[in-house]
């Protein structure tokens, strides 16, 4: 039994356990045990992976394994991880762990909620461990659909609309994706769906030119690529806390990861051909998202647009196709995942108390709920790229890497993209100033309490991770950088 399969097996066991659970405490127990197990597993994997690498393992992917599944189509359940997957798995495990705590007191239908939640996590983990096109796609879609119910049933506001919009747009993206996958498979004349083997084949350039944009767009929708990002504000605004966390924290990363792992790695020539157009779109995403966030009045909208901007930066960096930029992109995924989860967690907790997310109605929370307020500030600072927190590391890597591209057009795009850090500061500080500082505008709020222990656990975990990545980025940066290398080499050859 491969260690990686445990990432799928544990959620499956959790699903069974949840199904069987009869009381609220049993449900929580299953979730706690399962998500802790996953977290430990992810950490263990990270340690083991690092050891192996230091021990001189040079294969592109480690822990590879493959079980033939559908012989006629060469579909296999193949697994394998490189540095990128390892950090993504770690991220997912962290978010799932904290998400469990963030929804500790969720009502009603707690059991069902966690069932869907775990199914979503199953999809995410499966996606990151897979190296088979079909299996990846399978897990990808598995992760998408629970969103509908999670938002629709447990969400708030215009939840039905938002849930439907999100699901349909993402599924629309996956329609593009599927045709792209088939294009790769048949275009390469392949006898395998394993990415590692496909990467060693060469797909004809004309095929790449057709299917690269489809795959990129397919994943790009999930990565909030302009102009297909509009599901994100509504979806995030309506989703319950932990779902926002998991969605913005992990699910949106599936987009970036897929773009890198499938679109760019397998179709380098297509990537070169199309990078111009997509670069423009992602640059727009970066600036546009940030500018839109400036005038929003709903906390979650602000953060959703901020996610558009930050995830745009991920795709932006990937398209720069330099090693440093791609490393930066992955770091940005990691960092954005953590800090945006933190953000959504805190926003959700504030919303749970005040029942409003309108920044015009909030104020003076620093005095009423200092813990949450401080957490919010930290999340905000991480978002605007304060050194010592994760955002800085990621953004700097992205910018330095993007600037490595000697082309003037790329340079201009980079410079335009850097302006987002100023705009980010504007909307973060505006929000902080409005809701945390100042005086309380609603006497009702004076009675509100600060975070409970479960919420504190979630928030502290996330802050710790954000700070850890921000202060000691060497490990993450190095293992990502190593793993990015094969892709860049392939790009360079094309």
């Amino acid at each position: 039994m491969n260690i990686l399969s445990l990432f799928v097996l544990i959620p499956l066991l959790m699903l069974a356990g949840l199904w069987a659970s009869r009381t609220l405490n049993q449900t929580r127990g299953v979730m706690l045990a399962g998500s802790s197990a996953l977290l430990i597993l992810a950490i263990g994997l990270a340690v083991e992976y690092t050891n192996l690498r230091q021990g001189g393992a040079t294969a592109d992917m480690l822990f590879t394994d493959s079980v033939t599944w559908y012989e006629p189509l060469h579909i296999a359940y193949s697994t394998g991880v490189d540095g990128i997957s390892v950090v993504m798995l770690l991220l997912s495990a962290i978010i799932m762990f904290t998400g469990t705590f963030a929804s500790w007191r969720l009502k009603p239908m707690t059991k069902e909620y966690f069932l869907w939640f775990t199914l979503l996590a199953l999809g995410v983990f499966g996606f990151f461990i897979s190296t088979d096109l079909f299996t990846m796609f399978l897990f990808y879609e598995t992760a998408l659909i629970p969103m509908y119910l999670l938002i629709g049933v447990w969400g708030s506001g215009r939840k039905e609309y938002a849930a439907m919009k999100l699901t349909l747009m993402l599924m629309g993206g996956s329609a593009f994706l599927l045709i792209g996958i088939l294009g790769i498979y048949y275009g390469a004349g392949a006898t395998t769906m394993n990415i590692l083997e496909l990467a060693s084949m060469s797909i004809p350039a004309n095929i790449q030119h057709i299917f690269f944009p489809l795959v990129f767009l397919g994943f790009g929708v999930l990565g909030a690529l302009f102009p297909f990002h509009t599901w994100s504000p509504d979806g995030h605004a309506s989703a319950p806390t932990a779902v926002s966390m998991l969605h913005a924290g992990v699910l949106m990363k599936l987009g970036g990861y897929g773009c890198f792992r499938i679109a760019i790695w397998l179709m380098p020539e297509g990537a070169q051909e199309w990078s111009g157009l997509f670069l423009v779109l992602t640059t727009i995403s970066v600036v546009y998202g940030a500018l839109s966030a400036v005038v929003q009045t709903d906390l979650k909208y602000i953060n959703a647009y901020s996610s558009v901007s930050h995830c745009g930066l991920v795709l932006f960096a990937l398209l720069m196709m330099t090693r440093t930029a791609c490393t930066g992109a992955i770091l940005q995924m990691l960092s954005h995942g953590l800090m945006t989860a933190l953000f959504f967690a805190v926003i959700g907790m504030i919303y749970g108390r005040t029942h409003t997310r309108d920044i015009r109605l909030l104020g003076g929370l620093m005095r009423i709920m200092p813990f949450l307020a401080v957490a919010y500030v930290i999340a905000g600072l991480a978002n605007l790229g304060l050194p010592g927190l994760s955002g800085f590391v990621a953004e700097m890597t992205v910018f330095v890497g993007s600037f490595e591209h000697p082309d003037l057009f790329h340079r201009v795009c980079t410079i335009i993209a850097t302006t987002s850090i100023v705009i980010t500061a504007v909307y973060i500080l505006r929000t902080v100033g409005r809701i945390l500082y100042g005086t309380c505008k609603n006497p009702e709020f004076e009675k509100l309490t600060d975070a409970t222990w479960d919420e504190r656990t979630a928030v502290i975990c996330l802050i710790a991770c954000v700070a850890a990545l921000g202060m000691a980025p060497y490990w993450a940066s190095t293992i990502i950088n190593e793993s990015v290398a094969p892709v860049i080499e392939r790009l360079a050859c094309s």
């Binding site: 012989e71 579909i75 399978l138 039905e160 349909l168 048949y186």
Partner: protein, 476 residues
């Protein structure tokens, strides 16, 4: 001719014997006998399923009858479908209006099934035609089975008139074909098929007849009215078993007879696929009545089935697999609709399903998963079947059609989610009361559920079908 010949067509012969057994049972067992008859039918179908193991290629009656591993597999699938339909018929057939007609119901079901068997293993157009009619005419009786319900009568009328119209046109098409070819044996025809204009016309006329059975746009219009009016159980039967047989018959004839005209029928199919999926989806958006809704859903599903046919020999395994996966999901949905209809006094509107989760969580879950499977959401069977179909079509280079079909999955997801939304999200003042599903109903749902989950994850099923397809059509 000898007895051995009959053994080679054992599925059909057995089925014919079953009809006689049922006839006698119906006459000899005292009324009300619906429960016993149901059990007998189930038993007979199980026996049939167990004994249907022919995997060799057989040509009997001078080419009139042709069975292949694939047709054998299809027959098994159809039998399973029928079994599931019979299993879920309980709550409906025991109604006081119907319980004395149970014998007729099962006989008619068997007759139509027999017709479909002949349709799928025909080697001659006459056989095919007779099989087709045998699958249609008693079906009309089944549709009009609730004869004191206006809807059922109306549906029966629409079905029989449409069926006659389409079969007349198809007959005309066959006659034209005969005029150009000079024979009606499938195996002798391809050498005379040259793609002359008259043959093209004949192809379209013939295709329309099967398009009617498959409810392809623009030959689909009877479908919603019929599904809505027909007894729900029959609706399920019609949507799955009848469609499956027609699909296989179509691919069989297109490949065996019209093989030289592949270019023509690929174009024909492409147009019809896009129309079918799109129109089916668009029309389904506005449906409130669940049966009608499922009718449109089945129209759009037929488009995907056709997509597999478009892939030709490559697609046959995907086609059969698709039918299987579709059958599991669709019959689960119809079973749930039927249960709710029978337990709430005929409520079949989507609004009646509001907040169903609060009262009947398990039923809701089954329905949800079935709908997800229909929409092609992993890890359910529908996802795999759709993927295989798309893969087959893409492999044959039908990228644009595949792409349009894929885009359409998004629309279909929308309307399936509307149902899910009604059940989980929308509030309701008086949701359907909590009720217990009967044993056989539960069994149906469990079987469907297992199929929905396991069909995709367990690969040997598809691989077996692939082998059968390879043996039959030489496709790999």
């Amino acid at each position: 001719m000898n007895i051995a010949t009959l053994l080679h067509m054992q599925p059909e012969v057995m089925l014919a014997c079953f009809i006689i057994i049922l006839l006698f049972a119906d006459l000899t067992i005292r009324q009300p006998n619906h429960r016993i008859l149901q059990l007998i039918t189930i038993g007979l179908l199980l026996v049939h399923l167990a004994t249907n193991l022919t995997l060799s290629e057989e040509t009997l009656f001078g080419g009139m009858y042709h069975s292949s591993p694939m047709s054998s597999a299809v027959k098994s699938i159809l039998t399973i479908g029928t079994l599931l339909v019979v299993l879920q018929a309980g709550p409906w057939i025991r109604l006081s209006d119907n319980n004395h007609k149970a014998g007729e119901f099962y006989i008619l079901v068997f007759t139509t099934l027999l017709g479909m068997f002949f349709m799928t293993s025909a080697g001659h157009f006459l056989m095919f035609y007779v099989g087709l009619e045998m699958a249609s005419i008693p079906m009309a009786c089944l549709i009009a089975f609730d004869k004191y319900r206006a809807g059922s009568a109306e549906a029966g009328m629409k079905f029989i008139l449409s069926a006659m119209f389409s079969s007349a046109l198809m007959l005309f098409g066959i006659s034209l074909l005969y005029g150009t070819v000079g024979t009606l044996y499938f195996s002798d025809m391809p050498e005379h098929i040259v793609g002359s204009p008259l043959q093209m016309g004949a192809l379209v006329f013939f295709f329309a007849g099967l398009g009617f059975k498959l409810s392809l746009v623009p030959f689909h219009a009877w479908t919603p009215d019929t599904y809505q009016g027909a007894p729900t159980t029959v609706g399920g039967y019609l949507s799955v078993v009848s469609k499956g047989a027609a699909a296989f018959a179509l691919v069989n004839i297109l490949l065996r007879v019209f093989g030289p005209m592949a270019e023509n029928w690929e174009l024909l199919l492409s147009v019809v696929i896009v129309l079918t999926i799109t129109v089916g989806n668009l029309m389904a958006l506005h449906q409130q009545n669940m049966k009608r809704f499922m009718a449109y859903s089945s129209i759009s599903q037929a488009g995907y089935i056709l997509l597999a046919i478009l892939a030709g020999a490559t697609g046959t395994a995907a086609l059969t697999y698709y039918i299987l996966a579709y059958m599991a999901a669709n019959l689960a949905v119809f079973c749930v609709i039927n249960e709710i209809e029978q337990h709430t006094g005929g409520h079949v509107d989507r609004d009646d399903y509001r907040a169903l989760y609060t009262t009947n969580p398990r039923l809701t879950l089954v329905l949800t998963l079935a709908l997800f499977s229909l929409a092609g959401i992993p890890p359910f069977a529908g996802f795999f079947s759709k993927f295989f179909v798309f893969a087959a079509a893409a492999r044959e280079g039908h990228w644009i059609v595949t792409f349009l079909a894929l885009i359409n999955t998004v629309i279909s997801l929308y309307y399936y989610l509307l149902v899910v939304r009604a059940m989980y999200i929308d509030p309701s003042d008086n949701p359907a009361p909590t009720f217990r599903t009967g044993r056989l109903g539960q069994l149906t749902l469990v079987v469907c559920l297992i199929a929905i989950v396991a069909l995709g994850l367990v690969s040997p099923i598809y691989e077996t079908l692939c082998q059968a397809a390879m043996l039959t059509f030489g496709a790999n």
